[in-house]
Amino acid sequence: MFARVAWLVLRKDIAIEVRSREILYTTLFFAVSCVLVFSFSFVREGRAVPDAAAGILWIAIAFAGTLALGRTFERERYGETLRALLLAPAPRPAIYVGKLLGIVALLGVAELLLVPLIAVLFQAELFDRPLLLIALLSTGTLGFASVGTLFAAMLVRARTRDVLLPILLYPITVPVMIAGVRGTSALLATPPDEPSAIMWIAMLACFDVVFVTLALWTFEPLMIE
């Protein structure tokens, strides 16, 4: 029942998105422009500052993710579908999981674009250890999205939701950012520093477990109107 509800919510979001592709395109383009803006700050004499690539990748993910979260829940608020979802006889944590997977999927597509872009722009050998990179990106994105989905869902009714989401989200997801940036830097080192990267991936996995559990636990009492 739980898995089915989550899958249905996810499928609904994907179906809506595939039809209009509005959030997808705007998020992707925003991520790309983020990368460009930060590149201008950190390129000196035509070459990037070393290790800037790792930082810029994760900043772009964080900013694009915040935007995507805001837009996804704005759409729910506009259609007043969130209340309908909550009224449905479905376990509420399952609704959270469905929305979480939708955000992770969206950010995953963004990362599919961002990683090659950054590899090209900064001559970063991001594809040396593809499996570790995928593990790092997926655990990091999941961690970021788990906190973000909860906060964005709760902020739907707030008037100042646009600015409150980053204010609340960024300090709490700093460990994700630290681990992501350091892990990516470790993978970009020559030769790639695998033990460090694996340690950061393990830490991100811990973060994911703790915060997804916390989110599932608090989603129910929080969404009571």
């Binding site: 906060f151 902020l155 707030a158 609340l168 300090p171 709490i172 700093v174 630290i178 916390l214």
Partner: protein, 221 residues
């Protein structure tokens, strides 16, 4: 609760008045000299701040899962007091660091964690003020997540070498520098009592505000 307010104020005032005398009498630290004496106010400030953080976190859990309004009042008060003590720590710390280490700020585990926790609880206060309807529950979630975040921030930044004095300084104080232990624990007690005093006063304010809101609602009927 209001009855302990006046005696508590007197005790705290006396303790704080005595503290400079005790601190001046404490022995000098070998490498840092005079500036190390900031330690007697700086560290107890952080103790008070983290007491506030955990009080807020636990009260938030109680509020979220039991719905008791007095838990919400405790959480809001504790968060505000934690931010105040955190600000004190974050200002006195760089003052100490500038003289002792030559830099105002260092990105090591303790400082980064302290700054982030301060930011999370400032976020808590912003949500309570500007979050609109339902913001008390949202703020409770922020407090819980913030509290859960503390070990992760500490560990993730801790990988680099840290210039900050190690945590082991405090427990070993009685052994390594007995002259310092007395004034230090005196200041800790003073700050903890001050925390209790401020918390009592602040919860009283929240309770009065709730009573006022109830009066307004009754008037409208």
């Amino acid at each position: 609760m209001r009855r302990i307010f006046t005696p508590l104020t007197i005790v705290v005032a006396i303790m704080f008045a005595c503290s400079p005398i005790l601190i001046a009498g404490a022995p000098y630290e070998s490498t840092m000299g005079l500036i190390q004496k900031i330690f007697y106010y700086h560290v107890p400030s952080w103790f008070a701040m983290f007491t506030g953080v955990f009080t807020c976190g636990i009260a938030s859990i109680v509020y979220l899962f039991r719905g008791r309004p007095d838990a919400d009042r405790v959480a809001a008060s504790a968060a505000e007091i934690a931010v105040v003590f955190g600000l004190i720590g974050l200002v006195t710390g760089p003052m100490w660091a500038r003289k002792a280490w030559g830099v105002w700020w260092q990105w090591d585990a303790k400082l980064t964690m302290a700054l982030l926790v301060e930011m999370i609880f400032v976020g808590y206060l912003l949500v309570r003020k500007y979050g609109g309807p339902g913001s008390d529950k949202l703020a409770a979630a922020v407090a819980i997540f913030g509290m859960a975040n503390v070990p992760f921030v500490y560990e993730s930044v801790n990988i680099w070498r840290t210039v900050h004095p190690k945590t082991s300084v405090v427990p070993e104080l009685a052994r390594t520098a007995p002259g310092m232990a007395g004034p230090f624990w005196f200041c800790v007690l003073a700050f903890m009592l001050l925390f209790a005093l401020l918390l009592t006063a602040r919860i009283d304010l929240e309770r009065r505000r709730a009573a006022l809101d109830a009066l307004y609602l009754a008037e409208e009927d």
